[in-house]
Symmetry: C2
Subunit: 430 residues, 2 copies
């Protein structure tokens, strides 16, 4: 373990420092782009060990951060996100092991074809370059994002929340130790050593072309700032206003289980359902039991007068509810005119994140899956599966709701681009 870095503060020339870090990251990215899988995995294995061996040091650093934040009167939810425990550190190390074990996307040939003139063209995966990650209080993002970037051959610049500075630094020390053991450049994973928020603005500028993409990990205000200011591409999801549509062809028991899970398993994750849509043709039989299962599990249901007649515990709904990501045990509910009514509602209010239909009618399911414009569309499964781990990607750096490049869970493969390799035997173009 190296001596902990000092945070650079005060009289530093911040733009010059950040530019230097950007250049070092670019230079490291060139090395990583052609680093063999075995060398990257050697680093990952060493990082996993270092996290486990240095758990006490990480906890001590975290305790200082937590004490400072408690003294400043932060909310208990905020303190919870910041706090590390032995179990959370073990989970971080386990996460590194998962990334170690997934396939290296770099160098994979995804297509190959031959032209009539005999040239063979291959499409092969290459890293993106330098990934800037801007996150808030959860210190484990340091490890999660750093190792996912490394596996995919990218350099990563991490800028954590100033409240978690000591925790991130302690984790970062372990990552650097792994890089060193594998003889990879330390600038492959950079933790920006300044708490000054101006560092974020500089990263968003792209540092003279030395940052290729920004991944914001945090609440709506962070993501909105990044989207507004960034001069480089951003992999971000703004909101998950996700719907579960219970069709006339649904099996009621399945619908109850899926709706309950989609909202209540973890109401705060981005894959949680925010609106329940029920087919008018199914409402008489299904609506009351669906509302009951939600309300009796502690969920507030908001609906119109018709909905309130079905269950008097339903609270009134307002127009803005239909486009709200509650992040809490609250759901808006609406009766719609069949599949077409559901499609219209989702086209109007959905956020292109995750949308589900429950039905035994294959034709209705096929139309829903085809016509809904969202990163993830599900038939007879819970929206809470919107997750890189659940997709089998091993891990994710986030979920993207844009349509460009990365969409849905952003795993190692989505952190790559591609190039075309052309193998000729002297071909010239007529």
């Amino acid at each position: 373990m190296t001596a902990p870095l000092k945070a650079v503060e005060g009289s530093v020339d911040l733009p010059a420092l950040m530019l230097q870090l950007g250049r070092q990251a670019r230079s490291a990215a060139r090395v990583l782009a052609i680093a063999p899988t075995a060398q990257k995995n050697l680093a990952l294995a060493a990082m996993e060990r270092a996290i486990r061996v240095n758990a006490a040091a990480i906890l001590a650093a975290n305790a200082e951060d937590v004490a400072e934040v408690k003294a400043s009167g932060a909310s208990s939810a905020f303190i919870d996100r910041l706090t590390l425990t032995p179990a959370r550190i073990a989970a971080m190390a386990d996460g590194i092991k998962v990334i170690h074990d997934i396939a290296d996307p770099v160098g994979a040939v995804t297509e190959r074809w031959q032209r009539p003139n005999g040239m063979t063209i291959e499409r092969v995966r290459v890293p993106l370059g330098v990934i800037g990650v801007i996150f808030e209080s959860r210190p484990n993002v340091t490890a999660d994002a750093g190792v996912l970037g490394l596996k995919s051959g990218n350099a990563v610049m991490l800028r954590g929340g100033s409240d978690s500075f000591r925790s991130c630094r302690a984790i970062h020390d372990c990552l650097v130790q792994g890089l060193r053991e594998a003889d990879l450049p330390e600038a492959a994973i950079t933790l920006v050593p300044v708490r000054d928020r101006a560092a974020v603005g500089l990263m968003l500028s792209g540092l003279n072309g030395n940052v290729d993409v920004i991944v914001p990990r945090g609440g709506k205000s962070l993501v909105a700032r990044v989207e507004a200011e960034a001069r480089v591409p951003v992999f971000a999801h703004l909101e998950g206003v996700n719907h579960v549509y219970v069709d006339r062809g649904a099996d009621l028991a399945m619908a109850k289980a899926i709706v309950l899970n989609a909202k209540m398993r973890r109401p705060g994750v981005c894959g949680a359902a925010e609106t329940l849509l029920v087919d008018r043709a199914a409402a008489e039989a299904d609506l009351a039991p669906l509302l009951s299962v939600l309300i009796e599990s502690g969920c507030e249901v908001r609906g119109d007068a018709e909905m309130q007649r079905v269950d008097t515990r339903v609270k009134p709904v307002a127009e803005e509810d239909w486009s709200t990501e509650y992040g809490e045990p609250i759901i808006a509910a609406k009766v719609v005119d069949g599949l077409d009514g559901a499609l219209l509602h989702i086209a109007r209010y959905g956020s292109h994140h995750t949308e589900a239909i429950v039905t035994q009618d294959e034709a209705a399911a096929a139309r829903f899956l085809n016509e809904v414009d969202a990163a993830i569309v599900l038939h007879n499964a819970s929206t809470q599966f919107a997750d890189g781990g659940e997709f089998g990607f091993g891990a994710e750096i986030g979920i993207a709701t844009g349509k460009f490049h990365a969409r849905g869970p952003v795993g190692a493969e989505q952190l790559t681009s591609f190039k075309y390799r052309v193998h000729g035997t002297g071909q010239t173009r007529p």
Copy 2:
């Protein structure tokens, strides 16, 4: 054929008009996204017919544009780009037939896997939405971009050069006729009916989220303006500073043929070579014949004193030559210290477009193809193959040098995004 549209000029509320066009394009994009292949192909076949049937009307409109431009004293190169001939109109119609015949990328399942819980996940291609195309004098871009967008299920907003306004309108009328015959919305292919350059700025703003991506087709100043101003993603190539590296392992006859073709077949295309790099170990035998074949074909070669000693017809080279896209029969030439020297030079001066190595040494070729960071890397083939048609894509809307989403030739497939379709049997997340 409908009566030609009048250009909207003068007192029009341009922002309101453009926003309306954007909304109509968005609405058309929703229809196109789920339009069956047969319906899109019906439109394409009708468009091809309409172009052939209305060739005389297109030529007459073009003659008016050309007369106006000639009167204003435009360059002969500019007039040539603007001028349509019966052969060019036939080529435009042939191009529509090619797009008609390529596979529909929309709906293609590119990956499918099953999760341990039984869910099946598919990754399926979907259109991007609304593509804004900003181009200069070549009126045929109206058809090329319009039909490629249609085939890939996207709405297209076209903004041509004001000098080609009548020509573009005559071509656009044929496309609209095809849309109508196939019962597709006319706003699927919109020609912005204003010559006012402010229309470009409005498109670059994204028209309130109604333009998803901008494709600039034109010279450096247009592309630079688009890159600087656009608030939406851009598929653009800024420059093709492409190299041919002749390695010590090269076959001289092949090297001469490739170098000559790479520069001189069409010196003005973006895939043309701009710099010749020759391995020092091959220079004594190969340099003089390589320089001769270029110079004797009418190419100006620029090089340092060493190069000028080898051939006195070589002109002096300046530092800026190494990063210049000549677009003319001029090439810069340099002796480098083997493969490593070539890789260093390309990393420093290359524009990530197209790079070629000529060698019989498979290990050197493999390192070059692996380590060079460019959209297209070739072994023993000419850089002039950097073209969607040559790649077998049928057509391209341009060549992208960025690393995000589209890279290299941008064909129908690259004008799509994807979504994940999840097929469950009632799965909920533990």
